[in-house]
């Protein structure tokens, strides 16, 4: 399987995700944001970081860069796309995923391991997990507060597009286990066709026990399946 990681000025998890992809034997190419063409791949990754400084709105300026036309083409052809953290923000700004990521409710950057509930394991990104499995993956963001109008939220629920929700030790999804104020505790969603996932947690940060956990591996293992 081949993967392209898009590098924007200000991306800073690009190397991290490349290491993780390669650990799971995905052949990985780094693609510069100004490129007008993108080599063929099965997967495109929009990495975390602060593309263009995340000034104005997170992910907004990245969503306008040259390479995004190629990424959209890839999406329309049914290719897989993962956007983690800033990548998720870029996907919503581009319109490939609905909603928007607002500033965390407490207005502070949060970096920590959180519990997540796998709400939907029938996506190409989560098939290695069990439904309702509780996993631990770190988050690290200032703007991860998922917001969408009621109609969109209904649609997300009806189409089973909500993939990951923040929960507590005991798998309970509630206000206390919501780190950033996201609607419905949403941590990750897919598009209708389920070939695009956006998630605030960083799976690439937990694929080795020395780094605090290995629950992120499931995402990559699902993909190579």
């Amino acid at each position: 399987m081949k993967a392209n990681v898009i590098v924007f000025p200000g991306s800073n998890c690009d190397r991290d995700i490349k290491v993780a992809l390669e650990k799971f034997q995905l052949k990985t190419k780094m693609i510069w944001h100004q490129d007008k063409e993108m080599p063929k791949s099965d997967l495109v990754v929009l990495p975390g970081g602060f593309s263009y400084g995340d000034y104005l709105r997170c992910g907004c300026m990245a969503s306008k860069s040259n390479i995004m036309c190629e990424v959209i083409k890839h999406a329309n052809k049914g290719g897989f796309i993962i956007g983690t953290c800033n990548g998720f923000q870029i996907l919503t700004e581009t319109g490939l995923l609905p909603g928007v990521l607002l500033r965390n409710k407490k207005l502070k950057f949060i970096c920590k391991y959180v519990n997540l509930l796998v709400e939907n394991n029938s996506t190409p990104f989560t098939s290695k997990y069990k439904k309702n499995q509780k996993i631990k993956i770190p988050i690290a963001h200032n703007e991860g507060n998922y917001f969408a109008g009621e109609k969109t939220l209904d649609e997300l629920e009806q189409n089973d597009q909500i993939v990951l929700k923040y929960c507590d030790e005991n798998s309970i999804v509630n206000n206390e286990s919501n780190p950033n104020g996201s609607c419905l505790n949403i941590a990750g969603i897919v598009n209708k066709k389920k070939n695009i996932i956006g998630m605030m947690p960083h799976p690439e940060r937990c694929v080795e026990s020395i780094l605090g956990g290995t629950d992120g591996s499931g995402i990559f293992q699902s993909l190579i399946n």
């Binding site: 709105r57 907004c60 909603g99 928007v100 500033r103 207005l107 917001f147």
Partner: protein, 80 residues
């Protein structure tokens, strides 16, 4: 030509920054200040002498970049 652009959150969109400002004002004894909403304010210059054309450019920057219409409204004025 110089413009000012206002980008504000739509009604109904939660504004944690505004809330935090409001609380903080309360904490320093300014509790009569209510309903704080925070938005963005830009000043920009447009290299264009025709006012209509300039306005079209400003509008298009708002739509394409400055505002995210899922959650924000914008308006602008010519100031010079």
């Amino acid at each position: 030509m110089k413009f000012e652009v206002f980008v504000t959150l739509k009604n109904g969109v939660l504004d944690p920054q505004g809330k935090a400002v409001e609380n903080a004002l309360g904490n320093i004894g300014l509790s009569s200040i209510k309903n704080v909403r925070q938005g963005k304010y830009f000043t920009i210059e447009v290299d264009e002498h025709n006012e209509e054309k300039a306005k079209t450019l400003v509008k298009s920057s708002c739509e394409k970049l400055l505002a995210n219409e899922t959650i924000e409204n914008f308006k602008f004025n010519k100031i010079q």
